[in-house]
């Protein structure tokens, strides 16, 4: 980080005084900063801190959200989290889902971005076609995949039938988890477009200089492009990992029943951690226990973020600076 200290703090800490990085930056009053950032802080307190606190309070009780007869149960709900077989199984499924979607998604997105970063006829058309599914709303994607993998009217069974096979119940166990993974990977264009934008920021002179020095395209990709892209890849992996922990709407939408009862009809293969949380809240009215599950997930996400950032700080090139040469 560059030093952007105000005059006041510079004077109060002469021992750590650093040269002012840029003209015109210092001298801003804190009030101005809080005028700009204030609404976010207020929203954060009201819409994140307060609900989390509310959930934490519920997690210490046996409330069902309606009945006035509830009592504090201490950490019982948290103890139950680690004894509940359904919780552990759903967490395992979520991990497998994450491993099946995040690395493949980021790698495929990057590969497609590299293909589209060349100059060729029809580039804009292919870019649009690859990116299109990523803008299709999740609800429509789920409905589309339900229609494609429908046992009777779906394309998947049409193809199998044409090859002489027997129709498969795609939307039931054990196949439905594959449908979920296909559906998520269908939207890989989102990752592609982010990588493509980053690729276009790679300085052309650098690649040309490497070419002049006799480096092949593969060599300069791994030695120049990839390191420069590492912040954006890292960002995608982190958001992908955390995003896959919260997947539950697609599971709900792929269930054979629609509406409020959907959560009770999610096939086991798609019964991910958040599906379990939702079921505990709204199908079973175990508000206390479900809140404890939310808090466990919250802690889990914080831990993953901390670990990933620790790794990322060592391996990622921010602003083109090699991590081993970074001083702060």
């Amino acid at each position: 980080m560059t030093a952007t200290l105000t005059e006041a703090s510079r004077e109060s800490s002469p021992g750590t005084a650093r040269p002012r990085a840029k003209r015109g930056r210092a001298g801003t009053r804190p009030r101005t900063f809080y005028l700009f950032v204030g609404p976010w802080i207020a929203g954060f307190l009201l819409l994140t801190v307060f609900p989390l606190g509310y959930a934490f309070w519920m997690s210490l009780t046996n409330t069902d959200g309606l009945s006035p007869n509830w009592s504090y149960v201490g950490i019982d709900n948290y103890v139950r989290v680690f004894q509940d077989q359904q919780t552990i199984a759903s967490l395992g499924r979520t991990m497998i889902f994450m491993l099946a979607t995040v690395p493949t998604g980021v790698a495929a997105g990057l590969a497609m971005a590299v293909m589209l970063n060349r100059d060729f006829r029809g580039r804009a058309l292919f870019r649009a076609l690859f990116y299109l599914p990523a803008v299709v709303p999740g609800v429509a994607a789920a409905l589309t995949f339900k229609i494609i993998f429908d046992k009777n009217a779906g394309f998947a069974n049409a193809a199998i039938g044409a090859a002489g096979g027997e129709p498969v119940s795609w939307l039931a166990d054990p196949y439905v988890r594959m449908v979920l993974i296909f559906m998520i990977l269908w939207g890989v264009g989102g990752s592609m477009i982010v990588s493509l934008a980053a690729l276009q920021d790679v300085p052309r002179e650098l690649l040309e200089a490497a070419k002049v020095d006799g480096a092949g395209p593969v060599h300069s990709f791994f030695r120049i492009t990839l390191p420069l892209l590492s912040p954006i890849i890292f960002f995608q992996v982190v958001t992908g990992v955390i995003g896959s922990l919260q997947v539950f709407v697609p599971s709900l939408l792929l269930a054979p029943v629609n509406g409020a009862a959907a959560v009770t009809a999610v096939p086991e293969g798609n019964y991910l951690f958040m599906v379990h949380v939702y079921a505990e809240y709204f199908a079973k009215s175990h508000f206390g226990y479900a809140s404890a599950l939310l808090w466990v997930l919250f802690i889990f996400v914080l831990l993953i973020t901390a670990i990933v950032f620790k790794i990322g700080n060592r391996a990622v090139f921010y602003g083109g600076v090699d991590p081993s040469e970074r001083k702060d």
Binding site: T6, L47, Y54, G138, V238, G259, L294
Partner: protein
């Protein structure tokens, strides 16, 4: 000569890859449209019929009348526009603070911003819903207004990255002229970020248009959005989905998103990479 052949082979292989990928990515929507044009008796035959024998265009009219499609679409439009405009402007506003201003505690708040970006929104959604329910705000748009005004962490982050990339020379002159930060934001930064604003609007609009979980928790069945109504509406009296109407309805539901995307497409790639002084 052999070099020429090798080059031709490479180009052919490259295009072949592209075409296969294109088929994979556009196939599902193609099937959706084919299904939307089928007659009911063409839906459950085995082996499955690929093409409708006669395209049933009236399925689209039936899809609109089968549920109160236009009513739900209006709800979706209001909600998504509200959400997109508020979120975009407020996110840019707050990003300016993070990109260009300093104050004690800035590092702390920025760290917090990054971690909320990482945090599953779904964790807070259910308790937030319970909170809104207790406050009597269920079945109003107030939750979306509050969400909009407080911005979206990811958008703030993107805007902040974008603003950081704007050369300081642009505003230094303005600062020397005694121009305040609010004016610098409105008159220099916002006009500079056209593609970014468009991208943010489109992304938030489509997110709200397609959002299923928040409206299904917060809105009653007649005030709800198209996204929620779609999932439950197209069933016959026996409770089975009416596939062809569902497909037609889904196509119509995707259409505005698709059109926005095609119209703003060029902004998406540019939006993340342009900066001033070019």
């Amino acid at each position: 000569m052999t070099e020429l052949i090798a080059r031709r082979a490479r180009v052919t292989a490259f295009y072949l890859c592209l075409v296969i990928l294109a088929v994979i990515f556009s196939g599902p929507l193609g099937w959706l449209i084919l299904t939307s044009l089928k007659a009911p008796n063409e839906l459950s035959v085995f082996p499955v019929q690929l093409l409708p024998s006669v395209p049933q265009w009236h399925n689209y009219i039936d899809a609109i009348t089968f549920i109160d499609f236009l009513g739900y679409a209006r709800n979706s439009l209001i909600l998504s526009t509200l959400s997109a405009v508020l979120t975009t402007i407020s996110s840019a506003w707050m990003a300016y603070g993070f990109a260009r201003l300093s104050a004690p505690g800035k590092k702390f708040w920025f760290g917090l911003l990054i971690s909320t970006m990482m945090m599953p929104g779904i964790i807070t959604l259910i308790p937030t819903y319970l909170m809104f329910a207790k406050a009597g705000l269920v079945d109003t748009y107030v939750p979306w207004i509050l969400w909009g005004l407080s911005g979206a962490a990811f958008m703030i982050f993107l805007f902040r990255q974008f603003f950081t990339g704007i050369p300081k020379e642009l505003e230094e002159a303005a600062i020397l002229d005694g121009c305040g930060h609010v004016r610098i934001f409105w008159q220099i930064f916002l006009p500079q970020s056209g593609p970014m604003l468009a991208a943010c609007m489109v992304l938030t609009f489509t997110a709200a248009w397609g959002d299923f979980i928040a409206p299904s928790l917060l809105l009653s069945s007649d005030r709800t959005t198209l996204a929620v109504a779609m999932t439950a509406g197209y069933v016959n009296e026996k409770g089975f989905p009416v596939q062809n109407l569902l497909a037609a309805g889904s196509t119509l539901f995707i259409l505005p998103v698709l059109m926005m995307f095609l119209f703003f497409q060029r902004f998406f790639v540019q939006g993340f990479s342009t900066s001033g002084l070019k």
